[in-house]
């Protein structure tokens, strides 16, 4: 009975246009942010930061970017890993060659990814659906090769693996896991807000229109070229920044395999499981993908089951696969939609309909 919007009338369109029009949601969000920014840094262990929270945040950011492309604009991409890699290596080069501060390196990485993304987005003007996946796969495999083969990309590192160290943000060292976490959290929050603004604004509607029915979109005056390429640009920018963060903050040193096609698949997973075309979906998806394997890994331990590592790992695969199918059956539109449905039920509670 607590969750009701009765009595919350909206006088202006401005108030109706808020991200969370329901008061309770807004309160919940503030509480969540407070917990994330204040309570978590005080309570969480190093392991939790490094193995759970930081990867979760960065992958959520990447998923957010990908969701703009796949979920909002309907262009399937299997090349997210490549866009991340471009972001990471560009940022790396900016850092080692020009000694740019972290923030500028990150943005530079994002911009490089944007250029790359737009380039590989051009085929989308002609190719659609699964066939487009091949263009993004071309980006993926090309980047795998490129980062491996072209020496200056890795600043002439003979093995091709590179590393960065001594991160600082506006003069503040980012060394401890908690600091890294806060950095990621801040960046993710900013991007989430910007992305939300985009998708609920005119450009977001253009993307969705292109996704849902491009002929009709053209008839009402939406330019497919602009809509698609802007989606590629925005998406790859965010993904590029996420790639740079993944490399700089999470891995520290990395080889091209860190951005392989597996990563691309993983992100696509997150987006779909989380919910296509939903900003919160990226977070749900990332949480699912980061936490579930860990949970599955720990459960036999907690239960004291004497499973061999291999058996446990195979079972983990099976359960993971089965859960994906299960969630798709329960709600093909992803966890975010499931959450909405649950909320809708809550709103009606205690009445079933």
């Amino acid at each position: 009975m607590l969750y009701r919007e009765n009595g919350q009338f909206k006088q202006t369109y401005r108030s109706d246009l808020q991200i969370f029009p329901v008061l309770q949601d807004r309160i919940a969000l503030y509480v969540l942010l407070a917990v994330a920014f204040v309570a978590v840094p005080m309570l969480a262990s190093d392991y939790f930061f490094r193995a759970v929270l930081i990867p979760f945040l960065i992958l959520a950011l990447a998923a957010l970017g990908l969701n703009i492309l796949v979920g909002y604009c309907g262009q399937i991409s299997l090349g997210t890993g490549a866009f991340m890699a471009i972001g990471a290596y560009a940022a790396f080069n900016l850092q080692v060659r020009f000694d740019l501060p972290l923030l500028l390196s990150l943005i530079g990485g994002g911009l490089a990814a944007t250029v790359f993304g737009v380039l590989f987005g051009i085929p989308s003007l002609r190719i659609r659906g699964l066939y487009l996946a091949v263009a993004t796969l071309a980006a993926q495999f090309f980047t795998d090769w490129f980062t491996n083969r072209v020496k200056w990309v890795t600043n002439d590192s003979p093995s091709g693996s590179v590393s960065v160290g001594g991160l600082s943000f506006f003069g503040v060292a980012v060394e401890t896991p908690a600091q890294k976490y806060l950095l990621c959290l801040a960046i993710v929050c900013v991007f989430a807000l910007l992305a939300k603004n985009l998708v609920r604004g005119a450009i977001g509607r253009q993307w969705m229109a292109i996704r849902d029915m491009d002929v009709a979109a053209a008839v009402i005056g939406i330019r497919p070229v602009y809509a698609k390429l802007s989606a590629f640009a925005v998406s790859s920018f965010i993904v590029g920044v996420a790639g740079a963060l993944w490399a700089f903050v999470h891995l520290g040193s990395w080889e091209p395999a860190a951005f392989s096609i597996d990563r691309s698949f993983q992100l696509l997973f997150m987006v779909i499981i989380g919910g296509l075309g939903s900003i919160s979906g990226a977070f749900f998806g990332a949480a699912f993908m980061v936490l579930l394997p860990l949970l599955l890994n720990y459960v036999p331990h907690w239960l004291g089951l004497p499973l061999s590592t291999a058996t446990a790992s195979h079972l983990e695969h099976m359960i993971f696969g089965a859960l994906i199918v299960f969630f798709l059956i329960v709600e093909p539109h992803g966890l975010a939609r499931l959450w909405l449905t649950a909320r809708e039920k809550l709103r009606l509670w205690p009445f079933p309909h």
Binding site: P158, P256, A257, S313
Partner: protein, 408 residues
């Protein structure tokens, strides 16, 4: 905590599982043996836990994070990629990373890479020893010869290039490079090129399925297997067993004698397998990868033992202390014999600045059914390798703003 914890990063699934499984089993078996036979190290029981990485760097990092606070023995990541990913972290966290026969070649320099131990050899020493064997076959001169490197297109596969280029300049042979994009299931174009260019030798830096694919393709294009030299990760039984006679003549380098039989194996049977405590199934015990796993655990145990000698017998060692043990390993031939590894490997002696401990290797050859030793031990050419190690570790130190410690 009264037990000494040994973290075990393993991959029993995925692309490289055929190598990872016996390797992981070997690591565990030896720890079990120590507990069963000796009751631990001077009475300190060894405990261990495996964490599955699937050869994935991100998962490897998670495993490292998960296990790093549990205990103090070294991390054998089993993967060059994971080693790259945890090296900085381990430096900051002060955790030992043991990479026997893989990892960063320059990390042999203990003044910069305080916490890394690429024991018994790196890809540089391996490449060097192979070239020495070829030199011997060619009666001392490689002038005008052609040598091809077919490699897994990843940092792992690229490691030997630098050394080979130096060697090529010195010996006057022509080095050609053939990257194979992982996983390397299809290598027809590579081997057609080899058929066309007819190099005198092919060095193979492959992993996983790339190895059998390469051997098959060599067979299909009629390249003599006798002219192929593989790195030790491509020279295990499972790599060639199923090809059988088709791989006859295939050479691989090894850091240990292929001798599957030593005292340690007898002990293992007696104390572990006969009690049904063994980890491995079937005929794995005695395979190269399994033995290599045991060697790694043995080195860990001996480092702990060495540390205990200094810091107190029967105590659980801290990471700092284990590192000291690693840096002060002195496994003489006699000691190895006593440990049951006398036939398997050569003496190892590490120091503060030398984290490799031994740079000897030899060649084995597949005769269609098993591996035979075909060469004596070679020691890598220090005059080539040491400057390279210095140069690259200095670069690393500069990049990371590390001041190399003094070892004198």
């Amino acid at each position: 905590q009264a037990d000494q914890f040994v973290p075990l990063l393993v991959y029993r699934t995925g692309q490289f599982a055929p190598l990872g499984i016996p390797w992981a089993d070997g690591k565990q078996d030896y720890l079990k043996l120590i507990n069963a036979r000796d009751g631990g190290v001077n009475g300190v029981k060894l405990t261990f836990e495996e964490c599955e990485t699937a050869y994935d760097a991100a998962k490897g990092v998670e495993c490292y994070e998960r296990l790093k606070d549990r205990g103090a023995a070294g991390f054998d990541t089993q993967s060059t990629g994971i080693t790259f990913a945890v090296t900085d972290k381990a430096f900051a966290d002060k955790k030992v990373v043991v990479t026997m026969g893989y990892g960063l070649s320059q990390s042999a320099d203990g003044t910069v890479f305080e916490w890394n131990f690429p024991l018994l050899g790196s890809y540089w020493t391996a490449a060097d020893s192979i070239v020495q064997d070829i030199l011997k076959k060619e009666k001392g001169s490689l002038k005008g010869k052609k040598i091809a490197l077919v490699y897994h297109d990843s940092p792992y596969g690229k490691e030997p290039i630098l050394l080979l280029q130096k060697r090529a300049a010195k010996e006057g042979f022509e080095l050609s490079l053939f990257p194979v994009t992982p996983p390397g299931v299809e290598q027809k174009s590579t081997w057609l090129q080899i058929r066309q260019q007819k190099p005198d030798y092919v060095l193979l830096w492959s992993a996983g399925v790339m190895t059998p694919a390469a051997v098959r393709e060599a067979q299909a294009t009629g390249y003599a297997r006798e002219k192929i030299y593989a790195i030790w990760w491509a020279g295990s039984d499972h790599d060639v067993k199923d090809i059988g006679a088709g791989a006859k003549g295939y050479n691989a380098i090894t850091i240990h004698n292929s001798a599957a039989k030593d005292k340690v194996h007898d002990d293992l049977k007696k104390f572990v397998y006969d009690k049904n405590q063994g980890t491995a199934g079937g005929g794995e015990v005695g395979s190269l990868a399994h033995t290599r796993g045991m060697m790694i655990s043995m080195l860990q145990v001996e480092a702990i033992r060495a540390a205990q000698e200094k810091f107190g017998k029967g105590k659980v060692m801290t990471a700092e202390q284990v590192k000291w043990g690693m840096e002060n390993l002195d496994l003489t031939a006699d000691k190895l014999k006593a440990l049951g590894f006398g036939e398997i490997m050569r003496p190892v002696k590490t120091s503060c600045s030398n984290h490799m401990g031994s740079d000897w290797a030899r060649i084995v050859q597949w005769d269609g059914a098993k591996w035979n030793i075909t060469s004596d031990w070679y020691q890598a050419d220090k005059s080539l390798i040491d400057p390279l190690v210095k140069e690259l570790s200095a670069k690393y130190a500069a990049d990371k703003k590390i001041t190399p410690r003094s070892c004198s």
